[in-house]
Amino acid sequence: MDIWSGLALGFGNALSVTNLGWALLGCFLGTAIGVLPGIGPALTIALLLPITFQVSATGAFILFCGVFYGAMYGGSTTSILLNTPGESGSIITALEGAKMARNGRAGPALFTSAVGSFVAGTIGTLGISFLGPIVVELALQLGPAEYFSLMVLCFVTVSAVLGGSALRGLTSLGFGLLIGLVGIDLQTGQPRLTFGVMELLDGVDVVLVAVALFAVGETLFLAWRHVEGKQEVREVGKLMMSREDWKRSIGPWLRGALLGFPFGVMPAGGTEMPTMLSYFTERKLVRPQYRKEFGTTGAIEGVAGPEAANNAAAAGVLVPMLTLGLPTSATAAIMLSAFQSYGIQPGPLLFTTQADLVWTLIASLYIANIMLVVLNLPLVGLWARILKIPTPQLYAGILVFATIGTYGISNSVVDLALLYGIGVVAMFMRRFDFPQAPVVIGMILGPMAEQAMRQALTISQGDWTTFITRPISLCILVLAVLALLGPPLWATVARRA
């Protein structure tokens, strides 16, 4: 199916009243929950997963697209008004955005990030529509050996390249892989790492781990360092941007989106790098008379650019997720597990076997984007009011929903104990600066990588050289080694010179 007939089919499905309703509900819930401090898109989707139990796959994924984009909008609102970024991608937004808010310019900051997200989301979704089928063509030629190598590359980039330290990133990855191993081995039926506990035979649920990492661990960490006192929510004030603001924002929006999307598409997904790059680019390119606003009163370019980069990168992550079945961010990993719970395995075949679903999903990304910009600007007052929920009741409420997200699904006290156990580990991970995303990615991708490896070895009749004699596989593995060893070697060379 070519792109145009695909899009026509998709919009035909997505524009039905029911599906528009799902998109609207998703956008609303996504923004409302994403606005809550400390809750990013990954946790938002994890908490909303139970909703899908009664819904068809198409409806559920339209809902998720809305939630996905909505949670990103919500996150930027929190960064600007409260200066507490909910996820790594909006840390940079908080930098200039909170400064603008402190100087009474919260309204324009919110406006530029909303329109910037719209511009970037649209560019990103266009990218998905046109790049997706091309990647699928390429991906259909990959065998299990290439897939395994690709996953190895993915492991290296998400854990060792991004983040503060390769060692700590790999530790997080190892923890995730270890959790992923728990349960019955799919090929031989042997129980692994279950310690004789019946409940562990099915493996550990990814929602449980996500909720433990992002909700329980975060809450425990905040209690550990809790200081009495109230956080100040900045007033929104006048929302509209002046003509000057528009002129200053358009460039950063486009540059940010074009910078962010490729980063999202590459297996080195992640939003820290493109948002940082966009920030530094805008600070360089800003007209001289506004340069002093950076870091002092808050420059609108420093909100518009990174926010667009963040959204475009997040959209880009959907390309490897849908076409290769490779999640490169925690959010994508949870969406992948949602696909799996419907018995759908994302990958190159998805575009042929589930063409209906894929194109409807892509169409609803466009729709969600438009809905959000229409919905969020008038409702910004409501979102700001959500931010005023007092901290004690907010965290108490989050933990109630954490209980529903785990115990509500399995009715198992063992799962609840596991949730709190992993939550305690997550608290220490925060204290000692271990990244959380590699845990989720490791536990989802680990079993897939193992399966690909065993398939490849079965095809090659046990010949291990299959990974390095197949040219594409070799190239990907070389890239992975370079990504792992390159930065430290470069540092050593640079120090000598």
Binding site: L167, Q190, R225, V400, F401, A417
Partner: protein, 162 residues
């Protein structure tokens, strides 16, 4: 061996913990029964690989800790306020109460008790009001999930009546 530099003790504990976790994985991998089924790679291979990876990074972390550690240099740790034992204790109690009561009293009562304790942990001074809010939140959530979505959040006293 050089004495552990001051302040790196916690980092050292983390390194040792990670090594132990890796060893646990290796031990469990060895305990996987060997299958008579033919396979090029058995079910043990991946657990051995992951266990080895975790032990290796654990040793790496231990090495870094012995050379002074990494977490002292972090801004967030250096500027952190002291441990709030009261908040941590109340929160821990909340989680424990939920864990112990949920299978007997049911979701609504257990989660409400947890709500009150967690709110108190974060400085709420009005347990009575929190009790009412907690009841409303958990009851609303229970009804929404049970009646609308058909998600069964366990049995309990109140849940049996509704």
């Amino acid at each position: 061996m050089a004495r552990v530099k001051s302040g790196a003790g916690p980092d050292l504990a983390v390194g040792v913990f990670v090594v132990l976790l890796g060893l646990l994985c290796l031990w469990q991998a060895a305990a996987i029964p060997v299958t008579p089924l033919y396979a090029q790679v058995g079910p043990k291979f991946m657990p051995y690989l992951v266990g080895a990876l975790v032990v290796a990074v654990g040793l790496g972390l231990t090495g870094v800790a012995l050379r002074g550690g990494w977490s002292r240099g972090l801004e967030e740790v250096a500027e952190a306020p002291p441990t709030n034992w009261r908040a941590l204790g109340l929160l821990g109690a909340g989680l424990l109460v939920n864990l112990l009561l949920i299978s007997t009293l049911g979701f609504v009562f257990a989660a409400t008790a947890q709500f009150v304790l967690v709110a108190a942990a974060f400085g709420s001074r009005r347990p009575g009001r929190d009790l009412l809010i907690g009841l409303a939140v958990t009851l609303g959530a229970f009804l929404a999930f049970d009646k609308l979505l058909g998600v069964n959040i366990g049995a309990g006293i109140l849940e049996g009546v509704l």
